[in-house]
């Protein structure tokens, strides 16, 4: 094909040709797996079930999910983790960002400390905190007993305590990312606003609520949206800290899917669970974007 011919047909053909590689790649790595997942969710695909054609089940898998106690338990845990850790990380992150925004002479140690939790691998953070919350040799119990607490609390061996420990670890890990976005937002606020408020006689508290928070709102919303989406997929930290235990009291949806597919080798049912998780995430994110996004 000569060059003139290529230019002749229309800009449209060229545009399609240029878009084709990206489209093919996306179709291969995004569209095909999701399509295959939805397809699998209608079949009985137990890898431990011997040989033979996979049996078509229709909506049987979905009916099973509806009656599955483990699924609702995992869904409840996932939503609870999201509801606790997202606002928690926002508050802690905002505090860290405000502290890091003070005019220091040497900025790099503070900036590095702000970045470090974000740069650590999730599973690494989970393992460190599991060691912190260890009943016998953990530093948390040691500090608590030094402060005068009589009985040792079995952090990772009691459902509610394990849940609290996991939430603390997640908040520590994710507040760093929040603080980073909020720090960037804080630095955009013009200093003149505070000077004007000072002249008008506003105190620090009023300045915080009337200037800092409204000016920071776009950054807060971006941070909240990112954080909520990743909180719904929580896997690494609960997996490395408790493996969902004790019982399944700290099991999230992603962990249940992993257990069903990898440990129980039930690919069909695991796919159904994954589709359900996808739908739940989609609903929450859509509602959330509509609510929160409308405020900008």
């Amino acid at each position: 094909m000569s060059f003139s011919k290529l230019r002749d047909p229309s800009e449209k053909t060229l545009a399609l040709l240029l878009l084709a590689p990206a489209f093919v790649l996306l179709a291969l790595i995004v569209v095909y797996p999701i399509g295959k997942l939805i397809y699998n969710s209608f079949y009985d695909l137990r890898l431990s079930g011997g040989v033979g054609e996979p049996k078509f089940l229709g909506f049987q898998n979905y009916m099973d999910v509806w009656k599955d106690q483990d699924f609702w338990n995992a869904a409840k845990n996932t939503v609870l983790i999201t509801l606790i850790t997202v606002p928690g990380a926002l508050v802690v992150g905002l505090g860290l960002a405000m502290l890091a925004n003070l005019p220091f002479k040497r900025k790099w140690p503070v900036r590095l400390a702000l970045l470090l939790p974000w740069a650590l691998p999730l599973s690494f953070a989970g393992l460190i905190f599991a060691w912190f919350f260890h009943t016998e040799y953990g530093i948390v119990n040691d500090v608590l007993s030094r402060l005068g607490k009589e009985e040792t609390s079995m952090w990772l061996l009691r459902p509610q305590w394990a849940f609290a420990a996991i939430c603390i670890a997640i908040i520590w890990k994710t507040s760093s990312f929040m603080a980073l976005i909020l720090l960037a937002g804080l630095q955009m606020i013009p200093k003149s606003l505070y000077e004007a408020a000072e002249v008008d006689g506003a105190n620090k508290w009023q300045q915080f609520w009337q200037i800092t928070i409204p000016m920071l709102m776009p950054s807060i919303i971006v941070a909240l949206i990112f954080r909520t989406i990743t909180a719904l997929q929580t896997f690494d930290i609960p997996y490395t800290m408790t493996k969902g235990g004790p019982g399944n009291s700290t099991e999230t949806l992603a962990m249940l899917i992993h257990k069903t597919t990898i440990d129980y080798l039930d690919v069909g049912y695991g796919s159904t669970l994954a589709v359900c998780m996808f739908i739940i995430s989609l609903i929450i994110t859509a509602v959330y974007l509509k609510r929160v996004g409308a405020q900008t």
Binding site: N101, L102, L114, L116, A125
Partner: protein, 90 residues
């Protein structure tokens, strides 16, 4: 930028820096200290904050194990995978 509040003397700024640095570095420092302890010290009560006997035995062991055949291939596979993800993730 937040202007310097009137109560924020130099000491208060130090406290702020200390809080942020402690929050960020504490787990990493704790793991570093743990890696320098002898194995027996890890399961000692009351727990020790500073290693009683500094040792690099854990590091020697880690690198010896990594360089031995079954793990060496895993290490290489991991590096290849990281490189692949880095190149195609851009």
């Amino acid at each position: 930028m937040i202007q310097l509040p009137s109560w924020s003397s130099r000491q208060l700024r130090w406290v702020a820096a200390a809080i942020v640095v402690f929050n960020g570095f504490f787990p990493a420092v704790w793991i570093l200290l743990t890696s320098l302890k002898r194995e027996i010290e890890l399961v000692q009560k009351p727990i020790t904050y500073w290693p009683h006997h500094l040792t690099i035995q854990n590091y020697v062991q880690a690198f010896t194990v990594l360089a031995s055949p079954p793990h060496y291939s895993k290490l290489c596979a991991g590096l290849y995978r990281s490189a692949f993800a880095y190149v195609f993730g851009q």
